[in-house]
């Protein structure tokens, strides 16, 4: 952290990492301010991660606590793994936004408040008796009151816009101010406004004026003695794009479909937070993607499975309550051994739970939530950009091993975003699809000797007419069979087929110290917090290693051996210990669970503290 003079005359300090949260009423345009700040920050070359925090209600009454909408960005000159533990800076457009977010702030954090939003009735709506900006209750923070509404109106006077319209521009004022404080250029946003509001040049101009006014205010005002610089990060060379997990997941599915040379049929029923994937794919009709909004989640997976039977890549996407409904069809998919990708964007449960909050507690359901012995592949994505690769891998494995694959993502990585280094199309792994065409010696349940996969023989192929179904099938011929020994053989074959997938996936690779005695084991969306915590612990001289599992069924072949190398295994999860039970069950050795079930991800700090106790 260095410091020099800014152009504005203010002190210019260099920081290596900053967490900012924009917060206001749903109507205040905070998501927009946040995404613009993100885009510009990416162009400046920082590593970053973001997370939007929408209200649970569609349109809660303006100014109330449930109506608060937030957007957090963590940006840095170093590697970044999460949207950040606790904000350094809160931009609060009204008292409700202050109240909701206050407890998350870092001690001593800066609060930039739009004082014009703190009128008496605003305070009342948020349940404040007195004005927190004035009553001394924020003593532990650095409060900077800014008359954003008034200043925006002044700046926009010349436009002659009605006041209500002008007031809507104040998010750009706030954005401009932050650009100034963190030394970011305005140009990308000015250009974006122009394009976005091309059909409405008046509004475009007003937003640009507000942005510039905010920036100018930041430069000129004595309220900001320090300005900051966060230098570019050393990211791997390549072309980057900022992406949310749900978008990355959709693109991963499309990329795999294209590589497989086929058609994807997505059966889906809207549900928060998975609907975005449906929306995204519905746009891509010219990419061999058929989207089907079914009458319910059962119809959705049924159609996906029917499509797989007919030779498409069947996909369905949902979240907890919808996943619950897919149980019976997933069980059928295991029996008929067809490729199928079932995506579960996990949210806080059980039952309806907290639909707009995150959790990673559907692991049990994915692994065990079917009648009888019913094995399938289970994968989990670890970060927004990783959703691309994991989705791609899900399709590859489903097709190669003729099996349903459950892909677990979660709300935090699905809605969160980070820079994604774009792969080169030609570097994507091949996904060879071979439909059986030769009637000679065709048996629907004959198996590939290596993978144990059965042939994919699709309707329309002469001579391969055959029947599949949920009744037990005779090995090879696939006729209905009640033979006791056949049932045992088939049950074991289904299990062995999934076990053998371990030969087709990379071994687990611990990151960190070879001689560590503590391993932190994780899966899914805890990746960022664990990776960050492990780096910080090592920076503090602790010896610790990290394994993060993408493959949960089957586990990587070397997992047992890796576990054996460590005295202690710490297993942080956003549930009450689901992987912990499975690892103990599988390897009959104890692990140390660390659980958080609050509808939000771990903070690095929470994991770090436990590591420091154990390593």
């Amino acid at each position: 952290m260095g410091s020099t003079a800014a152009t504005s005359g203010a002190k210019l300090e260099t920081l290596d990492r900053v967490v900012i949260r924009f917060a206001g009423d749903s109507g205040d345009g905070m998501q927009l301010a946040g995404t613009q700040f993100t885009a510009t920050t990416a162009l400046v070359g920082n590593d970053l991660a973001t997370f939007p925090d929408y209200p649970a209600e569609i349109r809660a009454p303006a100014g109330t606590l449930p109506g608060v909408s937030g957007f957090q960005i963590n940006f840095s000159s170093e590697d970044i793994f999460t949207p950040g533990d606790a904000p350094d800076v809160l931009v609060a457009m009204n008292p409700a936004a202050l109240k909701v977010n206050l407890r998350d702030l870092k001690p001593g954090a800066t609060i930039i408040a739009n004082v014009d939003g703190f009128r008496e009735n605003d305070l009342a709506k948020a349940g404040y008796q007195t004005n927190p900006l004035e009553d001394g209750s924020l003593a532990g923070f650095q409060v900077i009151p800014v008359e954003m509404t008034r200043l925006t109106r002044t700046a926009l006077k010349e436009t002659g816009l009605p006041q209500r319209t002008a007031d809507r521009c104040k998010n750009f004022f706030a954005l401009g101010l932050m650009y100034s404080l963190y030394s970011r250029p305005m140009e990308p946003t000015l250009r974006w406004i122009e394009k976005r509001f091309a059909r409405n040049p008046e509004i475009a101009r007003a937003n640009q004026l507000a942005l510039k006014a905010g920036y100018a205010y930041g430069e000129a005002s004595e309220l900001f003695p320090s300005h900051y610089v966060v230098p570019p990060a050393r990211l791997e060379p390549g072309t980057y794009r900022n992406i949310s997990g749900n978008s990355a997941l959709a693109l991963g599915l499309v990329a795999a479909t294209q590589k497989a040379g086929g058609r994807m049929v997505l059966g889906a029923y809207p549900i928060t937070p998975a609907s975005d994937v449906l929306h995204e794919l519905s746009q891509l009709k010219n990419f061999g993607v058929v989207t089907f909004q079914a009458e319910d989640e059962i119809g959705a997976i049924g159609a996906a499975l029917g499509a797989s039977f007919a030779g498409s890549i069947g996909v369905t996407v949902t979240s907890g309550p919808g996943m619950a409904l897919k149980t019976e069809f997933l069980n059928l998919a295991v029996m008929v051994e067809l490729p199928l990708v079932v995506v579960d964007i996990q949210r806080a449960g059980p039952s309806t739970g907290m639909p707009t909050k995150t959790e990673q507690a559907d692991l049990f359901l994915a692994l065990f939530g079917r009648p009888s012995d019913s094995p399938c592949i289970v994968l989990a994505a670890r970060s927004p950009a990783d959703c691309f690769e994991t989705a791609y891998e899900a399709v590859r494995l489903a097709v190669r091993h003729m099996t349903p694959v459950v892909l677990l993502s979660d709300l935090s990585i699905g809605a969160g975003a980070e820079p994604w280094r774009l792969p080169r199309i030609e570097d994507l792994p091949d996904i060879p699809v071979e439909f059986r065409t030769d009637p000679d010696g065709f048996l629907p349940y004959a198996r590939d000797p290596r993978t144990l996969a059965r042939p994919w023989a699709i309707p329309g192929t002469p001579g391969l007419e055959h029947r599949v179904g949920g009744l037990e099938k005779s090995d090879g011929a696939g006729h209905v069979s009640y033979d006791p020994l056949n049932h045992e053989r088939m049950t074991r074959l289904r299990t062995e087929k999934i076990a053998r997938v371990a030969e087709d996936i990379p071994p687990a690779e611990p990151f960190g110290d070879d001689d560590a005695r503590l391993l932190v084991l994780g899966w899914g969306g805890t990746y960022g917090a664990i990776a960050g915590a492990v780096r910080r612990a090592r920076a503090e001289g602790r010896r610790v290693a990290h394994v993060h599992l993408r493959y949960l069924s089957p586990f990587p072949g070397n997992l047992g051996e890796i576990l054996d190398r460590f005295d202690r295994v710490l297993l942080p999860e956003n549930n009450l210990g689901q992987l912990a039970l499975v690892v103990q069950g599988r390897f009959a050795r104890p692990v140390i669970p660390l659980n958080k079930v609050q509808g939000r991800p771990f903070r690095e700090q929470e994991i770090l503290e436990r590591i420091l106790e154990l390593a």
Binding site: E236, T239, A255, G299, A303, V480
Partner: protein, 339 residues
């Protein structure tokens, strides 16, 4: 799609090597025979047929038809059939289902299939009982019926399966009888020709758990007096000697009139497959003892076909935007380079 091979198909081509496992005397046999006779006549290559079913005696159907087949789970055949059509609209997709499978557990998928008008043909084997689970009442069982699960008589009002389909917006609705071979074949042919969902209720006898449920409509001697055959454009006439007709007494109130001896067919209801929904509902409501039960095609109208439109839209969008370019898709939005 009509190829030389398709035209040379015979009944035998549609028989599998699996032993048929229905009870001797079950009405399902007759339906199977009819299907195996009609399929080869349709000019569709054998490999392009897919028979999808749920669970039940009747849902064993796919195992006995030598085409592609999918014996899915209870009530869900419409979902799977929709997926098959979305993956490959060229296929001729048929559903075999029972009154329990289709109307009890599967009711939702069924009405949505008909609403969307997916190009799928449904054979609903209505025996007014759960056969495979050994005899519980079904949603078509009559009030008061005593079964294993209703030892004191059922208090569940039944569905009218034709009425339900009409209410759901079905574009082709028909009824036929298992043992009435020429009729069932004729209805199947029409169902096959229809573009969109074709719903065919087959009155089927379960001689083990509900024997005689359809006696007045199945027995040769009774049938003619108890059934009225719907023929498009023809007046509603029935009876062994075709001496009885149906007319509207007052609006919405059909009644029987005696014909012959000077009384002509003028004034009788003339069947119109494409008539108003309410007219079809009048037919759906007709039943004994006062009125004959209609069989044949109640309704046949042309409406947008879901799978065709899904693929039509894809074609349109593709024509407009060009075939998707993966690289362009990934490399879009705000990009930046790190070097």
């Amino acid at each position: 799609m009509t190829t030389q091979a398709a035209l040379e198909l015979t009944r035998k081509d549609f028989v599998t090597d699996q032993e048929v496992r229905w009870c001797p005397g079950c009405g399902d046999y007759a339906v199977l025979a009819a299907v195996q006779q009609v399929f080869p006549e349709l000019g569709i290559p054998r490999e392009n047929f897919v028979v999808v079913s749920g669970i039940g005696c009747s849902s064993r159907f796919p195992y006995y038809v030598n085409t592609y087949g999918f014996h899915t789970i209870h009530g869900r055949a419409p979902a799977v059939a929709t997926g098959v059509k979305l993956a490959n609209p060229e296929l001729s997709v048929w559903i075999a289902t029972g009154d329990g499978d289709a109307l009890s557990i599967g009711g939702n998928h069924l009405i949505h299939l008909m609403r969307r008008n997916v190009d799928v043909k449904i054979l609903l084997f209505n025996n007014r009982i759960y056969g495979l689970t050994k005899g519980q009442y079904s949603p078509t069982s009559e009030l008061g019926k005593k079964t294993k699960s209703s030892p004191y008589g059922s208090v569940d009002r039944p569905f009218n399966p034709i009425g339900l389909a009409l209410g759901a917006g079905a574009t082709f609705v028909a009824r036929t009888v298992d043992v009435f071979a020429p009729h069932i074949k004729e209805v199947l042919r029409q169902a096959a020709e229809h573009r969109g969902t074709a719903y065919v209720e087959v009155l089927q006898n379960c001689n083990i758990y509900n024997d005689g449920a359809w006696e007045p409509y199945r027995e040769k001697e009774l049938r003619d007096d108890n059934l009225v055959l719907l023929r498009n454009g023809e007046p509603l006439v029935f009876g062994r000697e075709r001496r009885r007709g149906i007319r509207l007494g007052s609006p919405y109130a059909p009644e029987v009139v005696e014909l012959g001896e000077g009384r002509s067919e003028a004034g009788l209801l003339v069947h119109d497959e494409a008539g108003p929904l309410a007219y079809a509902m009048t037919l759906a409501e007709m039943q004994g003892p006062d009125l004959p039960l209609p069989v044949g095609v109640f309704r046949k109208v042309s409406e947008p076909v879901f799978d065709r439109d899904v693929h039509g839209q894809i074609a349109e969008v593709t024509a407009l935007k060009g075939r998707g370019d993966l690289a362009k898709l990934l490399y879009s939005g705000d990009l930046w380079e790190i070097s």
